[in-house]
């Protein structure tokens, strides 16, 4: 069952009618969306609406019951899928950073390229150092996660993901655990990435940020996409009462 090769004019992530349940609880009830290469999309919505579950399905951390998710034309929900191949393409950053606490910032970034991609150590280190610079953490190379602030840890986590040279980055409420001052430094890092042309899917509660960087915004509630559109129209002319209510509480 070979599929036609994926080309860049097709969606890099294509989600079609995805259903996902945890036991009896149906979390995703038929979600569809397309993301083009270089696009930044933000998924917003109340807690428990399935936002995080959805992006966790994109790199197969969660499986789905029905529907289809394709990344660069490759079906994710396929038992025979090589998860390593998928995860080389899709980087992910978590709410709780999830750094390896026994490794320094630099080692955290270098570990996956060396162990998983079997790349040359010296070359990886060079790249890791430039990534540290990119996320503005010069001087923290040898600090352990426990010695870094939340915002700094999250930027290391972003660099760690980028070290795998992914085509797509997933951000799962990456600023939700941070205090307001450090939120900004992480958002600036993500904005740099987006401006460099990285395809990004973000689950976020930062509406101002979503408005600023997103090409497309999706509002989910109770497992369905209620409304979506480019930020200009989405924020100004939300039609659905649920969206309006949510936005009125947030903004």
């Amino acid at each position: 069952m070979s599929q036609p090769a994926w080309t860049e004019d097709q969606p890099i992530v294509s989600i079609k009618d995805v259903h996902k349940s945890f036991g009896d609880l149906e979390v995703l009830k038929g979600i569809s969306m397309d993301v083009m290469k270089g696009e930044v999309i933000c998924i917003i919505g109340p807690s428990g609406s399935g936002k995080s579950t959805l992006i966790r399905c994109v790199n197969a951390l969660n499986d789905i019951q029905s529907g289809s998710i394709q990344v660069e034309g490759q079906e994710v929900n396929d038992k025979a899928l090589d998860k390593l191949e998928l995860r080389k393409k899709v980087g992910m950053v978590f709410q709780q950073y999830n750094l390896f606490p026994h490794k320094t910032a630099l080692e955290n970034i270098m570990m996956a390229p060396i162990k998983v991609l079997k790349q040359d150590k010296a070359e990886v280190e060079k790249r890791a150092r430039s990534l540290i610079e990119k996320v503005r953490l010069q001087g923290k190379e040898n600090a352990y996660p426990g010695e870094l602030s939340g915002g700094q840890q999250q930027r290391v986590a972003i660099a760690r993901s980028l070290a795998m040279n992914p085509d797509i980055m997933l951000f799962d409420e990456v600023t939700a655990a941070l205090d307001p001052e450090t939120v900004k430094e992480v958002l600036v890092t993500i904005k740099d990435l987006a401006e460099d042309g990285m395809t990004c899917m973000l689950v976020t509660h930062e509406m101002g940020f979503a408005k600023e960087i997103a090409d497309h915004i999706y509002f989910t509630d109770r497992g369905v996409i209620v409304e979506h559109g480019p930020p200009a129209t989405f924020f100004e002319q939300a039609n659905d009462p649920r969206t309006q209510e949510f936005l009125s509480q947030i903004l």
């Binding site: 951390l61 998860k83 995860r87 709780q96 606490p101 026994h102 996956a112 998983v116």
Partner: protein, 252 residues
Amino acid sequence: MLEAFTEFFRTLAEDHPRWNFIFFYEPRQWARIVKGFQHTIVLSIACVFFSVVIGVVGAWMQSSPSKWVRRIVQGYIQFFRNTPPFVQLLFFYFALGQFTPTVTGPDGWTEVPLVSNIGWAIISLSFFAGAFNVEIFRSGIEAVPESTQEAASALGFSRLQTYMDVVLPLAFRVSLPALNNNLVNLVKTTTQAIAIAVPELLYQSVSIWSDYPSAQYPTMILLFLSFIFLVGILVLGMSRWERAMRIPGYGG
């Protein structure tokens, strides 16, 4: 200097017959102690090593997706934890030992078992202590957050890589105090090998005081001090290791 030392103990034994430190002035008895000490050290190092390996592998198998692998590990733990190590040793040597093949000995004409009594002592004690180590590592593994492992798999780590590079190094740090206790116990339990005539320190000591009853107290004192010394080295090594593995800003 050495002469004065041996002379002192020789006179002591003559003046006070209960305090015959015979191994300090008679070279043959000293050689027995040295041989016993060597065997005890070999047993201890081998058992510590293999029991830790069994612990690491067993804890890995306990998280296997296969129900049967998990059951086998569980069965192993239940058997070795709930039966006396002394009985296990006798079982290994006398029951299993009968079924192991023999090979021609070094003299060229006698048949000797493939696994010697020292071999059986190492196997039996390693499995015994290993059962506890599996449980010790498991509790350490359970302390590693699921989310940290998830981050590793999101980076493309396989299950084995996640275990070796992320889970185990963190679990080890949590497990060290409990592991320490178990290994101390293991070193002391090596004396049970006397039951299958492994010439370790207790075996040699008993031989000495059977031959020279006047040497009984001194030999017992030597035994106690030797184990205090051996266990002391182990504990010192473990706490150094613990300190070396401490991560700034993580844990206690």
